[in-house]
Symmetry: C3
Subunit: 484 residues, 3 copies
């Protein structure tokens, strides 16, 4: 947690002492490559220290060589022009605002490799990328964009994982190779993204804020708002209009406990709906080589995020349900009913069928939620990387549909005997959970049809490459762009 954004404090004692306690080598017969770093800010220092740790020789270039005293020992500090002459590769660890002074060094930097590691604060903050701007200022140098996705923190603490990837781009192939080799020696995995025109996208990459989660968030917000209004109409306004009852307090716990399960179930069904739609499309067209519509593609890419948002709502539903017996409203209602029954000395025989229905929908809900949590755990990056492809598909597909079945059954049995009885309609509006059942039941019914042997056989053949001759087939599409 670094909420105040105060920058990178050395996380481990190991690295903290490394700058002063241990001179790096006493006996230097063979030296590794020398790297020059322009700039002695936080990032420049972290990168320099990391490079020293991995065996490189490092020389810093600074505006005021004598005034910086916190650099890792073993690294020299020189003026910019002196430092530039010590190495072929110069890492430009200074803000874009200060790039202009580099024009003074054009002759020194000629033929060198300049590595642009900068980041901006906003997406598309400038008309051209920082790397292209640098290339304009120093035309004789080979500019390579790299390392901007690794934070100083990750460099120091060594916590490199999926963030081990560095995107590299540049116009000169040999310069790129050398930078990629340096990256590999640091324990990173460089990925060549092409020419310097890719720099803009590389610079935007760390500024994204959960791009794949936006559609699920907006969709669930829309569903929540819709069902909130719907439930308020049925549970607050209708009783007020009809019986002058003040039910506003229901908006704190009762109504959320109707919105959340409904949203969770609809979102969970929407995880499996695109697969079903895609299967229908493939069956209809008789081929797997015709590309899907863009909206279907995008929908399929954020299925994991849809499922995790659904799991979040399911967790909220569970918590709101488990607190029911603690609520004053519920305790008052139960106490009132008990007192009334005691005073009227009325008998209340035990209804086994009610007990069955009640215990069943509770049990179905618990089992469905348990499997849902298992699905969520297998979505964790480290767990999903540990299982192989067959195991992952087993969990996400078979267990996933089982979860959908259990949660749908939970909602169906919850209705119980009063499921579709008209007495529950208020102003002809059914309970919210009835609306929630539409999409899940559709998905399950279509999926059930799709696994019928005859249809399943055809679909498998199509997915293995067979094509029914039609206007969608591959030969007819030759020359056009297509996918899958």
């Amino acid at each position: 947690m670094d909420p105040s954004g105060l920058g990178s404090a050395s996380p481990a004692v190991m690295e903290k002492n490394g700058t002063d306690a241990f001179p790096l080598t006493m006996n230097s017969s063979v030296k590794q490559e020398t790297i020059c770093i322009f700039g002695t800010g936080d990032y420049g220092r972290s990168l320099g220290f990391k490079m020293l740790q991995c065996g490189f020789s490092v020389v810093f270039g600074s505006r005021n060589p004598r005034m910086t005293s916190i650099l890792p020992s073993g690294a020299d500090v020189l003026s910019y022009s002196e430092a530039a002459q010590k190495s072929d590769i110069i890492i430009v660890a200074i803000h874009r605002d200060h790039y202009d002074f580099l024009t003074e060094l054009i002759e020194v930097l000629d033929g060198k490799i300049l590595v642009d590691i900068s980041n901006n604060l906003k997406i598309n903050q400038y008309p051209e990328s920082n790397a292209e701007y640098l290339a304009q200022l120093v035309p004789g140098a080979h500019v390579v964009k790299a390392f901007n996705t690794i934070s100083a923190w990750a460099l120091q603490s060594g916590a490199l994982d999926a963030s081990r990837q560095v995107f590299v781009c540049g116009n000169d192939s040999e310069a790129k190779q050398r930078v990629m080799d340096i990256a590999r020696t640091l324990g990173l995995t460089p990925l060549d993204q092409g020419s310097l025109m890719a720099a803009k996208e590389i610079e935007n990459y760390p500024l994204q804020l959960f791009p794949m989660w936006r559609f699920p968030f907006y969709l669930s917000a829309a569903l929540c708002v819709f069902f909130f209004v719907y439930c308020v109409i049925r549970d607050v306004i209708y009783p007020y209009v009809n019986e002058k009852k003040d039910n506003t307090f229901l908006m704190a716990v009762t109504i959320p406990n109707r919105i959340f399960p409904v949203t969770a179930l609809i979102l969970l069904a929407l995880v499996y709906l695109p697969g079903v739609i895609a299967a229908i499309l493939q069956l209809y067209r008789g081929t797997k080589y015709h590309r899907f519509p863009d909206w279907l593609d995008h929908w399929m890419l954020c299925r994991k995020q849809l499922g995790l948002v659904a799991l979040g709502f399911a967790c909220l539903h569970v918590l709101y349900t488990l607190v029911i017996p603690i609520r004053y409203y519920v305790r008052w209602r139960i106490r009132n009913a008990t007192v009334k029954q005691a005073i009227s000395k009325k008998e209340d025989p035990f209804s086994t069928s009610t007990a069955w229905l009640n215990d069943s929908y509770i049990a179905l809900g618990i089992l469905g939620f348990f499997l849902f949590v298992l699905l969520g755990i297998t979505s964790l990056p480290s767990v999903s990387n540990k299982v192989n492809w067959r195991e992952f598909r087993f969990v996400q597909s078979k267990l996933g549909y089982l979860t959908l079945i259990l949660c749908t059954a939970h909602t169906l049995v919850y209705g119980g005997k009063k499921f579709l009885s008209p007495s529950v309609l208020k102003w002809y509006l059914p309970s919210a959970y009835i609306l929630a059942l539409i999409i899940p039941c559709t998905v399950l019914v279509i999926k059930f049809i799709l696994i019928m042997p005859c249809i399943d056989r055809t679909l498998t053949r199509i997915r293995q490459g067979w094509e029914r001759s039609s206007k969608y087939s591959k030969s007819a599409l030759n020359g056009k762009t297509y996918m899958k």
Copy 2:
């Protein structure tokens, strides 16, 4: 989540655009190694794109060079024989069914390195492995098996972690070295598994379905079935036979809430039992060099899976317990009792001892469950990799035994005053939780004996290599295979 198995859609915008928007290099003075890929299906394209990203030159070989238009830009497409001449290393990204056409290219492929990346659909689908079949078809080439454990998805999205490992095998050492170097450049970690005879096992590897989880699953299924029958006899059949009461509804929530905690406790005890048995064996034999029986070895290997299954049952038990006050059955029972007491105006004095026992077993259960969840969290791959060996053993061993103690105490106190009183026996069968206590108490008692200073000292000496002269000692075993 990719439940419909529709194949690999490009997950991130980054890679998606990479194929068309960014020509890879404009200035190509030095080129990396050229790799040839036979086949332009999903996997071939993903692998080719990844190799371009990491700096290789890629040329595809295809049946119809002119008809494929979705390949990454920067890669050429030629006929098979032309493509084969451009490179020493040829990756065979086509189905085994089509290997036979390679016999036409025997002269072109002579002396080349053929990399077999294929997977099958079933374990041991063919008598010989795909790699060996390929080697038979093209005897002059050096066949190396590699890359079959990396899915196209992982290649594209870069989500390489434990799945970073690629198993490599082959008869020619130099060919293997070159393939392993390519793997390292892609950011993977190659592991040499030996000669081509290892190919069969490498091909079976991604087809396994949770091999380490089978024993825990079957065991817990057996325990659940046994205790289900046991509880049905005690709670449904016995009341029906004796009092003609219809208790079938208890099978939905009440009886599962007896089965799950019992199974959880037994499985948790079975996690620590093999360690205790092994210690006894070592003490008995006086040496650590005599190998354990196979069943004990296998049991010790799936301790983590046993513990996680036990944690799953414990979570179900917690959920089934927390919903108790919401159940119609429980509410009816409480309401009935309250009404009876109100009508009869009977006094019910507060029993402090009952409050103590009740609150105690609840508190013990909560604390035991909390530690159990902590154990589970430290089993997550990323967390268990972040702690060092001493920390991991502290958590799994000390906290683990503390969890077992708390959960056993929870069950003991749950019995309360009626723990072993005969009135609870139905047809001489005790409550299920009494049965559950047998193994945990045994484990805890033996462990307690084992940590007595005298015995612990002897055990530590044995584990550090000391041997009591006996027929089990190392010198007596010289020449035989042994472990530890």
Copy 3:
């Protein structure tokens, strides 16, 4: 889980068979580097097997070459002096206690690279590190410390992640480079820690037991003890002194359910307090270059651990709250009140305001806990590595403060109408939750002031490097060590 510490059994069938079933190469035209390993214990064998897998040639040196028969096939076993002559690099996989015999081999080992991989059992067990001791014994060899942080288990199972890092140190630069190259070929990431004087710290590193968690644990233990005593005085001693009531049973569930939420809230506020203090310091001094006091630095380093401990206490609070309706004490109290009301036939009108307050604080608690769990999930290593820096700060900072707000509001509303009324004071001591509110409210108020536009603007300028001329500014500090 390996609680009994019985050593490394081969985890996967793959590796287990590798030692006997598959001869490693049949055709050996080109061989990789040859590594010599002294010692055939568990670790030596695991390391040797891993090296064979990664393409090295391995020769073992052993006291009794003929008596060891469990080595990986493909590796030779020779006497120490014979083995030492086969390779430049010798890995010393024997206990420090046996280093002295190496003095017999001084001539053979002259000029070789000796890799010390040993670990001790206690921190600072010996006056000098094992590597330095080895260097004293064999002065002609180049001693390099490496590989001691990788356990034999991790080598075999390939589960290398954050534990992929190996610390390397040594006096000879070329020797270090060769060892680092070997480490990279094994798929590890070597980090150069300097000269052989760093060996002591490298050897202490795997012996640490959760160093960053000590302060949070001690602090929460202190808080728990304090509030336990405080609550016992108010809820057990005071009723006993005043009304002779025996409330000791409250210590099992009720009093913990006061301690845990209070501790959780205070710890959560302490996660955000250092950031606020640091901001105030920076505003006061007018510069970001003056280093913070040591205690503030250390506090900021363990914010994540503080937050996770707080989350643990919050989970316990949730569990203790959800079991309330199952407790005998609570059921007796409710039943008693209901019976009393039934007997006295008293009316109890429904209080909407009580329902609002009650449902509100419950809802605030649930939402606050839900966000708290989200924060915890993003702290998991694999998740926090998957998000970029901007996403991580969004979650930890914005969502973090939202969590603090919700939890503080939950506690405030929990007080309800009786929040500060004097009737709740027992011996002038307010309820524990009142005390808990002090720090969170302070943090939130100061943070609210800090985000006022005028103050926020100044703070942002300071953090971007601007300095108000004062005695704290960088020029005044020139020459002294400083950080940030």
